[in-house]
Amino acid sequence: MLWFVRSAIVALFPRVERDGVVIPGAADCGLDEFLKRFKAETTTLVWLGTVLGAFVFHFTPLLTIFVPLPAFLLPKGLLDRHAAGITTTSIYLLRQAVFLVKLPGGLCWGADPQVRKLIALPPLGTDPGTWRAAG
């Protein structure tokens, strides 16, 4: 299931180069590690939502670019058009569902040190995941 979610996120956040500046894509931002962590540490409901979002993303190219193929089989150009189309579709439920997979993509991308450097922000430290013990 991870590859399914991963490929949707990579399509939503691709690496882009403009005027000699590289904007890292989600795949450049430790996405595999992040998704393992996300799946393990989020709630079951949120993970199910993420998978649902990926499902909607992959099985709607017919609605956006009129191609009867799942998104994971689309060539790069068509995939990019689908990613733009499905995130702005006028069908609310689909837009919301895709948002559920865009959200973890953003959480991964925006926390990456290369991305933060590009937007003049210092790198984030680690999440200690600790709490005050009894006493």
Partner: protein, 511 residues
């Protein structure tokens, strides 16, 4: 000194007062009771995290600090997130610490519409003390950042009746712009840093990782609480806990959890879970030629209450972290990345609508503790919502923005100054907008009539002895300003009334 955290063994205790929830309302009530010489137990669903435990990333904040990973949404139409924290200190740990006194007209409205008398002097006196204790100060010049300064400039150019740098419960803000992940620099005075530890120092008990499942009654008297510890990492259940209250139970689990806890404990009051309200809000981004770097400077630093009465909204700056901007901006693929490439040049300012619509809060499927919130804005509120967005757009242009990003589905991604009509005449269906609910009210509203309210003017639940609600859920109207100060002021007054009832000693102005 005794803090009890997650454990697999059974835990029991007996105290004078049990306080459920350690957020704005719970901590203020608990410290007032402890200062009155009472033995208090605070029972909190979340873990106790000090600044050294705070997460750095937004993912970490959702995981460690937020209720339900921030995934709670309204039902009944548009899915708008309902954001709250689940940690010792409650939502004060993740909020922006904006401190606004309860406006006088609110007390008059409460008296006229709900028969609530005698609250104003006590609440304002409590707010005086809280402001001193929690070091309330205006955002210092060094921490304002460009977004806040530009917002003031834009509002001043438009000649708005009010345009000010905020006062917050923050001691010398260093402008780290990460209030939502918890202030690791200990500048923000969230109540986990002051009132909760003070309860311990005064001989109280804090029981963390302990979501209360049921209130315990003897006849019509509340005598304690019970539940099961939950591990903050694995979320696996631990041992049971039972905490008895010799004098009273104070419920302060928030506007969504308090009504659900009362319902799941078997209380049947006609108004329980009704009159849930909020200040829904959304942001409008301005696009500027020069870098704004919105995450440098106070997370929220500027505000205006010029439109609080007409049309009924508050305007503020708000810097959300890049992790959330990435999913907040419309689009996907190359087009989204190109939008994100201009991140340094965008600034988000937002509104909080004084919405009149109300909804309901109920337990989840099969009576689970996960609140189900049914809430949608009516047409009048959506019109306010739209006007607020137009005002924000005008403010951006007055501040020198080249374009604005309204984030309205169906409208162009960016609009220029001559396209504001598109927002003014924009859709009134909430599904076109991305809003969040962070100021929540109601569910256990105060009033004099048990048919239309759950508590009296001192938070005492109608028809039950020894049970007080002291959080946002008692507030029977919207406020039009940020609610933490009102919640804390009310909680102090309710606790003072409890002290008077149980010790006969007059405490505070309101007693």
């Amino acid at each position: 000194m005794s803090h009890v955290s997650f454990q697999t063994e059974h835990f029991e205790a007996e105290v004078d007062f049990v306080v459920v929830g350690s957020g704005a309302g719970g901590a203020a009530a608990a410290v007032t009771l402890a200062r009155g010489g009472q033995k208090v137990a605070i029972v909190e669903a979340g873990a106790w995290r000090d600044p050294e435990h705070y997460p750095q990333s937004t993912f970490g904040a959702l995981r460690d600090l937020m209720d339900d990973f921030g995934a709670q949404v309204t039902l009944g139409g548009a899915f708008w997130p309902v954001v709250q924290a689940r940690t010792v200190g409650g939502t004060t740990v993740v909020n922006s610490a904006i401190c606004v006194r309860t406006p006088g007209d609110i007390f008059r409205q409460w008296e006229a519409e709900h028969g609530l008398r005698g609250l104003e002097a006590g609440v304002l006196a409590a707010q005086d003390v809280i402001e001193r204790e929690l070091a309330v100060e205006e955002v210092p010049e060094s921490a304002r950042g460009r977004s806040n300064v530009l917002a003031k400039h834009g509002a001043d150019r438009l000649g708005w009746a009010d345009s000010h740098y905020m006062k917050r419960y923050v001691k010398q803000c260093e402008g780290a712009g990460r209030c939502m992940q918890g202030c690791t620099g200990r500048r923000k005075q969230s109540v986990n840093l002051n009132y909760v530890p003070e309860v311990l120092e005064r001989g109280g008990v804090v029981v963390s990782c302990a979501p209360v499942d049921r209130l315990v009654f003897e006849g019509t008297r509340a005598v304690g609480v019970k539940g099961r510890f939950v591990h903050p990492g694995t979320r696996k259940p631990g041992g049971e806990f039972v905490i008895r209250a010799r004098k009273a139970v104070v419920v302060a689990a928030s506007a969504t959890h308090s009504p659900v806890l009362l319902m799941r404990s078997g209380l049947e009051l006609p108004a329980l879970g009704r009159f849930f309200r909020s200040h829904p809000g959304t942001g409008v981004f301005g696009v500027y030629d020069d870098p704004i770097d919105q995450n440098v400077g106070a997370t929220q630093g500027w505000a205006s209450v010029a439109f609080r009465e007409q049309p009924g909204l508050k305007l503020e700056t708000l810097a959300i972290p890049p992790e959330l901007v990435a999913s907040r901006l419309a689009g996907g693929g190359t087009v989204l990345m190109e939008r994100l490439a201009r991140y340094r040049h965008i600034a988000m300012w937002c509104h909080a609508v004084r919405a009149e619509s109300h909804g309901t809060v109920k337990p989840g499927l099969f009576g689970s503790a996960r609140p189900v919130i049914r809430y949608q804005l009516n047409r009048a509120d959506m019109e306010r919502f739209r006007v607020g967005m137009t005002l924000l757009a005008k403010q951006h242009f007055a501040a020198g923005a080249r374009a604005i990003i309204p984030g309205i589905a169906g409208l162009p991604y960016e609009l220029g100054p001559d396209q504001l009509r598109l927002i003014e005449e924009g859709p009134l269906d909430p599904k076109h907008y991305i809003a969040i609910l962070s100021h929540l009210f109601g569910g256990c509203v105060m009033g004099t009539d048990p048919k239309t309210s759950v508590t009296d003017a001192r938070g005492r639940v109608h028809g039950v002895e020894g049970l007080v609600v002291a959080d946002a859920s008692v507030i029977p109207t919207n406020l039009g300003v940020n609610p933490q100060h009102t919640i804390m002021g009310l909680a102090v007054v309710f606790a003072q009334a409890l002290l008077e009832q149980h010790s006969g000693v007059r405490v505070g102005v309101a007693a």
